[in-house]
Each structure stands twice: as structure tokens, then as C-alpha cells.
């Protein structure tokens, strides 16, 4: 259906292991070619791939939306890379350790030319198992990167105890219960866990249950078997960054829902990092799915509700100091 070039965004605080992961991706014998957008030349050296230097220029848009920013350098670089279309299979963007992922993601929704040729695949965040806990306290960028992620690698697990690892996992879950979590050493991971995720593809929004409820096994074929926290799972509530998940079995009225959600992101967009939803509208045979980054919403009918499928509406917001009660009441007022 789409011949758009997939784009993976690699984030992570300084020293977490982004470059190690990038080098691992590039050097695996996958037979694919990547165009890689980095901030510093030199640390990666793969002849086969196109490597472009970026400058992280964050530009505000003149559309009356204060949090609507794009990465001007990406608009320019992707335009240039498209002249080489056919020479690479995917694009990987490595951000600096202090970068905010939102302008990167928004570039793909706001710039028509970029959105026509490429599609955002996923935001992958590498976290340092030993130091993330400290960074969550003193570095707002690190917290942003965790909150924004679709996939999180807790890296350098060999440098911490099992207890410390459970602790950091619970801290991450307190901020972002929805990302796919992996424990790694030296960023060792199967590539299909970080590439080709389709995390921003509306057709792939199938399930927005918190990830830790799945209890899937974190065996990465690396010979180690990581025991699951099991009954000892800790729950942390991050005081600043959290998620709000809402659900109702009553069908929603679209004429109430859309004005409400648009007004919500218009007012609280700066503090809402990501949102996602699967909705059941009254007298509508099809599921409606949507997702958003700050004030930018993207939604469509996905498929018909299947016979016997539970027709409920679920919606999730991840953000900073979210007005949970206000969101809850607003959502409940959208019932048909």
C-alpha cells in the first residue's frame, strides 16, 4: 500500500548507548541499506550507507500553535535524500542526547513534502540502566525521551543488580506503561524489535493495553533468561510525567468527541506528549483510531468491528502534569 520510506528515530540521554545501537543496526548482515542522519560524524563508519550530518534546528511554525515545531534541518535533508530514492531502504535519525523527540516526530506530520515521501516508524529510546534513575531526577530531556518512546532499551543491564533493574523498569513504567521494553547489554537486540515497528501507523493501532500487563517473555536469544518481576512488580507514580488511560463501554458521540479532543489538545497540547485511541462511535460499524503528538492529531476509520468483539472505547494520554480529572470528565461527557 505504501512505498513511503520508513524512518526510525533513535533517542537516549548522553552515554546511554545510542551509537552502539546504531553501529549494531548498520553492521548486522541484513542486506539493507540505510540513510543515517547523525549529529556528529566520525563515530560510525559503514561505507555502504549514506551518512548525513544534521544540525538540530528546531523551527516554530506560524500556525498559532505554540508547541508546533519542526526540525528545519530534517525538512532540508530528507528533501535532498529523496533525490537518492532507491539507494536506501530506510532512514535512521540519531538525535543528540539532549534532543526533544517531539519536533522530529512533528516534522513528519506537518511538512507535506516530507510526509508524502516518508513515514515515521517508531521512536526508540536507549536508557542507561545504571544512570537513568538519576537522569529522571535532574534531566527533563531524559524523561521526555522515555515518555515519548515506542520502544525502550534498558541498556547496560550487566552493570546493575537484578533489584536495581526491577527498580528502573518500574520507574520507566511509571512514566510510560505503553512502550515495548527490552533489557540489553551493549545494545544487543534483534533488529526487528527496533526497526519496522509501524508504531505511528493507524492500521497498526490494535491494542493500547499497558505493556506490562502482557507479561511476555523478555528472552532475546542472548543466552540469558531474565526472570520476570512477577508478583514483586513495583508501582511508581512519576510526580511530573504520567499517563492517563480511559475506557468506556458506552458508545461515543462523534459530534461531542471531536470538538472535545480538539479543544483539549489545543489547550493542553504543550503538556501532552503522545496520545492514542481506539473509539466506538454510536451507529458506526467501524473502529475509529487516532494518535497524536502534542497538538497534532491524526485519525481515521480503521476497520469494521468484528462480530463478538468487545466494542469499547479506549484512549491514552502521556504527558506532563496532566489534568487527569478534567480529561476523565471530558471523555465521559462524550458518551452518546
Amino acid at each position: 500500500m505504501s512505498d513511503k520510506i520508513p524512518v526510525t528515530v533513535l533517542t537516549g540521554y548522553l552515554g546511554a548507548g545510542k551509537t552502539t545501537l546504531l553501529n549494531r543496526i548498520l553492521s548486522e548482515p541484513h542486506g539493507k541499506k540505510y540513510a543515517v542522519i547523525v549529529n556528529e560524524f566520525g563515530e560510525i563508519g559503514i561505507d555502504n550507507d549514506l551518512v548525513v550530518n544534521a544540525d538540530e534546528e528546531v523551527f516554530e511554525m506560524n500556525n498559532g500553535c505554540i508547541c508546533c515545531t519542526v526540525r528545519g534541518d530534517l525538512v532540508r535533508i530528507i528533501d535532498g535524500l529523496m533525490k537518492r530514492k532507491g539507494k536506501f531502504d530506510a532512514i535512521i535519525i540519531e538525535t543528540t542526547g539532549l534532543a526533544d523527540p517531539a519536533p522530529v516526530a512533528q516534522t513528519f506530520f506537518v511538512d507535506e513534502a516530507v510526509g508524502a515521501k516518508t513515514k515515521l516508524d517508531a521512536v526508540v529510546t536507549v536508557a542507561d540502566a545504571k544512570w537513568l534513575k538519576d537522569r529522571l531526577k535532574d534531566a527533563p530531556e531524559a524523561k521526555n525521551q522515555i515518555a515519548f518512546a515506542d520502544v525502550i532499551l534498558i541498556n547496560k543491564t550487566d552493570l546493575v543488580t537484578a533489584e536495581e533493574l526491577r527498580e528502573i523498569e518500574a520507574r520507566i513504567r511509571g512514566i510510560n506503561p505503553y512502550a515495548k521494553l527490552h533489557r540489553t547489554e551493549r545494545a544487543k537486540i534483534a533488529l526487528d524489535e527496533v526497526l519496522g515497528r509501524n508504531a505511528f501507523d493507524l492500521d497498526r493501532i490494535l491494542d493500547i493495553e499497558p505493556e506490562f500487563l502482557h507479561r511476555d517473555d523478555h528472552d532475546h536469544g542472548d543466552g540469558h533468561h531474565h526472570p520476570h518481576p512477577g508478583g514483586g512488580l513495583k508501582h511508581y507514580h512519576d510526580e511530573e510525567m504520567q499517563s492517563v488511560a480511559l475506557r468506556t463501554e458506552k458508545p461515543l458521540n462523534p459530534d461531542k468527541f471531536f470538538p472535545w479532543v480538539q479543544d483539549l489538545v489545543a489547550k493542553d497540547g504543550p503538556s501532552i506528549l503522545r496520545c492514542k485511541g481506539i473509539l466506538s462511535f454510536k451507529d458506526d460499524p467501524a473502529r475509529f483510531v487516532f494518535q497524536g503528538v502534542h497538538m497534532i492529531l491524526d485519525g481515521d476509520h480503521q476497520r469494521a468491528w468484528v462480530e463478538g468483539e468487545k466494542r469499547d472505547s479506549r484512549i491514552v494520554f502521556i504527558g506532563r502534569n496532566l489534568p487527569e480529572e478534567k480529561i476523565r470528565q471530558g471523555f465521559e461527557s462524550c458518551v452518546a
Binding site: E57, E60, N62, R76, G80, K83
Partner: protein, 337 residues
Amino acid sequence: MTDSRADTASLTDRIRAIKAGAPVFGVHFLGDVAVFVLGEEVLLFADAGGERRVGVHAGAILAAAAADWRIVTGGDDGRLVATDAQGNQQTVATDEKRRWIDHVALGPDGAVAWSAGKTAFVRTGKGEVRFLDAPSTPAGLAFAPKGLRLAIAHYNGVTLWFPNYVDAAPEKFAWKGSHLGVMFSPDGRFLVTSMQEPMLHGWRLADGKDMRMSGYAARVRSLDWSAGGGFLATSGSDQVILWPFQGKDGPMGKQPRLLAPAQARVGVVACHPRQPVVAAGYADGMVLLLRIDDGAEILARRPGASPVTALGWDAAGARLAFGTEDGEAGEAGVLQL
């Protein structure tokens, strides 16, 4: 649904089709030779004697400008190359960090400007190279019609630089937002930029007065001045939008002229060098010639498989070359008027 323009006068039988074999990003004439700028590596030369391909870059061609006897191209190989109508090449500059050459402009007396990273460079007609660091990565360059003055478009405005006056501070024209392309009016009175948002911004140079030109459906990627400079023709909508620049206030307080509404978006415009006529290339592959005074239309090319991405007139206005985005078929051609 495509636009057949069944009742429109047609010149489509005068096209000489050219198989470009790659997406065409620009086309220029050097005398009688049409030079198609392909996406990667190659310039395609077409004249009465046939076609030939000349490799000029080891990678993508990111920018091109042509004047007089040469076309100057910037590549992602960090090189700036001048090529003449015979295909002879000369490397004008090589970026020492091998950065992309993002933009190229040609000026009076053989001056050449280019940008790489945040730096804009000018090589004067005498061969002296000067440079200026812009506040953010230049997104467009244009020489003023007179004197050695270079406009550099960037985030939050335009810097007007006088490369020959080392002591003179560059002039700044500020307007919030990301400015992507820049042009002087042919009389040098106005400066116009295209922005990240679907709008144009302009300044009257004499007093710095701002002008906003908006109402577009998409980012304006193509702008050109009509013969004599009376109108600025623009892409970015499903019709050609022409802003009037005749009076001392330019388009301020005036409505644009709207020509040739169609079912597809205008992607590229090119004004006839002598007559009040503009050629418009549409996203459905159609090319129309439009008389600016009354909007009369002539069909130059029927809709095709892919969007028109390049249009260029020869100096006399006797031939119009066009190119499209479709790589494999590489539909392109030259229309003899």
C-alpha cells in the same frame, strides 16, 4: 480524474519527447541546448543533434542555477561544478568538510554564490572567495539584480550581504518563521520569500515594509517574475496565482490574479522571457501556457503519469522544456513554439 482541457487550443503535437531515465528536478537552456538536471549525478543535454548525458556529481544534485554559457550545480559530494553547453566541466569549489552544497545562485559579472552548512559563500567575478555565517542554515540564496548583494533566506528572516564591503554589517529583514526560498524583483525594489507555511513574505527594500501573501493550499515551491517584472507567478494552489507588483506598494492591498483553475495542483511556473505569458506545470502532468492579460489558455502538454517538476524557457522564448518526477519513464520534452 484528470483534466482533459478538450476545448483548449493545443500545441501538444509540437513536443519532442525526451526519455530522461530519472526524475527531472530542473531544466535550463544554454543557448540552443536544453539541460535537464536529473536527481542523481547526471545532466542531460538535448539539442537538434540529439541527447547526451554528462556525469557531474558523485551523488545527488541538490541545487542548480544557469546563466549565460554555464550551468552551476551543487552536489551532496560537496562539490560545486560549472558545466558549459559542450559538457566541459570545471570544479568551482570543493567544501573542505565535504558537506552538502545546498543552494547555488549566479550573480553579475560571473559571481557565484553557494551554501554549505550554516555558511554562505560568494566567489566574485575576480575569483575572490568570501563567506558569511548565517544565523541558521541558509534555505535560499539570490543575488540582487544590480551590484554585488546576496540575499540569504533562513529561519526568522533574510540577511542581505554585501560581499565586497568587508566592513559593512549585513542588513537584516526579520519575519518570524522559516524562510525557504528568496527572490528579488527584477527592478530590485522588493524581496520575496517562500515560507515553510503555505505563504509568501515580502519586504519593500526602501523602507522594510512587510507584505504577506497567503491563501495557498501548499508550500510555494516555484516562483517566477513575468517579463518586465509586473507580476510574480507562483505555484502552490490548483490555479496559477499572480501577485501584481506594478505600483509602488507592490501587491499590498491588492488581490492576486488567478488563472487556469484545474483539478490538480500547480507544481512549477516559468514566465516567458519576453511576452506576458506564463507556463504552468501541474501535478497531473499537464502543462498550460497562459496569457496573463486575459487568462487565455493553450495546452502545451496533456496530463501524463507523473507531476511536472521542471519548466524552462530559452532566452528568445521560442522553446519550452519540461520534466517530470517519474524516474523510470522519465517523461520530459521540448516544445517548439
